[in-house]
Symmetry: C2
Subunit: 328 residues, 2 copies
Amino acid sequence: MKKQAVKLEDVAAVAGVSKTTVSRVLNNRGYLSQATIDKVHKAMQELHYRPNIIARQLYQQRTNLVGLVFPTVDNPFFGQLEACLDHELYKRGYRVLMGNSQNNPDRERAYLRQLLNGQVDGLIVGAHNEGIEQYRNIQLPVVSIERLVSKDIPVVAADNYAGGVLATQQLLDDGCQHIIHTNYPHDLASPNMERRRAYEELMRRHGLPMYTYEVSFDSSTAEKIKIFYRLFDEHPEVDGVFADNDTNASLIMQVARKRGRRVPEDLKVVGFDGANMTRTLLPELTTIQQPIQQMATAAVQLLQDQIDGKKTTNSVQLPVKLIHGTTA
Amino acid sequence: MKKQAVKLEDVAAVAGVSKTTVSRVLNNRGYLSQATIDKVHKAMQELHYRPNIIARQLYQQRTNLVGLVFPTVDNPFFGQLEACLDHELYKRGYRVLMGNSQNNPDRERAYLRQLLNGQVDGLIVGAHNEGIEQYRNIQLPVVSIERLVSKDIPVVAADNYAGGVLATQQLLDDGCQHIIHTNYPHDLASPNMERRRAYEELMRRHGLPMYTYEVSFDSSTAEKIKIFYRLFDEHPEVDGVFADNDTNASLIMQVARKRGRRVPEDLKVVGFDGANMTRTLLPELTTIQQPIQQMATAAVQLLQDQIDGKKTTNSVQLPVKLIHGTTA
């Protein structure tokens, strides 16, 4: 692809304005009438003029790019979250550099290195790989969503403890005596652990046995299904499940059906997340809904504050709600 | 955020190598032992050195960024597709600029303008807004997925006609006599129309009545549900539905249930897409599965060919398959 030789002067001549005016339109600076802006844009289009944005960035030391480092967009929660983040960032004039870290710490590290190389104005992170030492010395504005990265990085999270209480209480109110929980492995520093803490406190208070099955987010569907078969084998008495996310809840219901259990007659199930796609594809699921849009708005605001040089390490916690389906 | 004053020389001194070696590590050029690479990276990290990638891009006239312009990642098909594209592009050294156009042509136009401003090496597009005139004069490598953009832009699509035949034939084999189809509005230049053409040809051949309900992808869930209630009101005789995507299939089944119809006893349903999330959340749905991973691989290959200066406007069509659930 060749670079065309059209110059700022040519645009000015065709638009019938001065070079300074074209430059002001490009840089969005000073007072400009809509008519002038339209004239310049029209001339740029006619001439196929492409301003050298890269040179401009070099001068401004700003890229107007924000990197998102999350496990994958192929998931109801992260898909909706990244769509909301993209929308909020777009409103503020940023574009999004997508970084699906998947289950690969090397890949998260590589993204971070690239991102640290001056290509983004900030990062919003929520990947699940531990031990990414780069975060500790990070010199860029960073906000985390639902992940404890380092003490200097603010976290936006739902009120996971309250969500764990709502879910467990719903199952107790339904008369369940043998409630099983699923969550991430215990060594992952995630606010999700608050869901487990709430479950365990309520079960202890009611003198009921508690069992948590640990399921990595990044495991394959086949591996997860194997764990859930084991759950029913080891605990045939189970009459309630509080799953840490809706896709696990769905898989558990599928396994339950294969084992001849009817939901909700023989087994009550409560999920967590309540994302758009889950509400569309599995509306019968009773679940704890996270305020995904508000989480995105809060994260972008915290990031903007850091980019603007405001010192802020305050974390934000947002309320959840119980969505009544038919599974509990 | 201030730029630090650490220079290439400082990194070379700390790593105990020459400036040329540091530069070769940064540019990934020439033979380098892993030990040398590690030494340089370690020194860069100690010094918080951030090479000026932007300046390097200006010199190379390459950004190694590829823009994705699709409606939204908050969707089973597009979420999986963008995750696959990101993965394929990452393997080739590109990072992804995410552009959710949503139902807003202005936003798609704005992305295109920004993208045309020299910030990406290429575009992969699949948004649903029509009349985006910029595509016609585009000077960048562009590949489209499931959208007819302009005659010069190659399209990667599933074999939608074969998918339409498989879906309609399944419903005919199930004994359905009153099969209704949903699809995009007729004026949208999309290969999806091939699904409709297949449906209409088979219905005509069997001498059966045909009705297509037009549903915009970007309509709200509430608007879509309204259309599906109308479908049951206007055609109480319906005994089969071939939905143009799985989320519509799910909504139709919800409305059917509200109207007292049992699936599959009273109503058979076949969807389209067969994406990961749908298979996890709604495994009972019989659907036509698109080869999403292969579509991503093909699109990235076509884009790379264009970036490498190979003239190619060949479009690619990939096979689909029927996934047997319990709904048809």
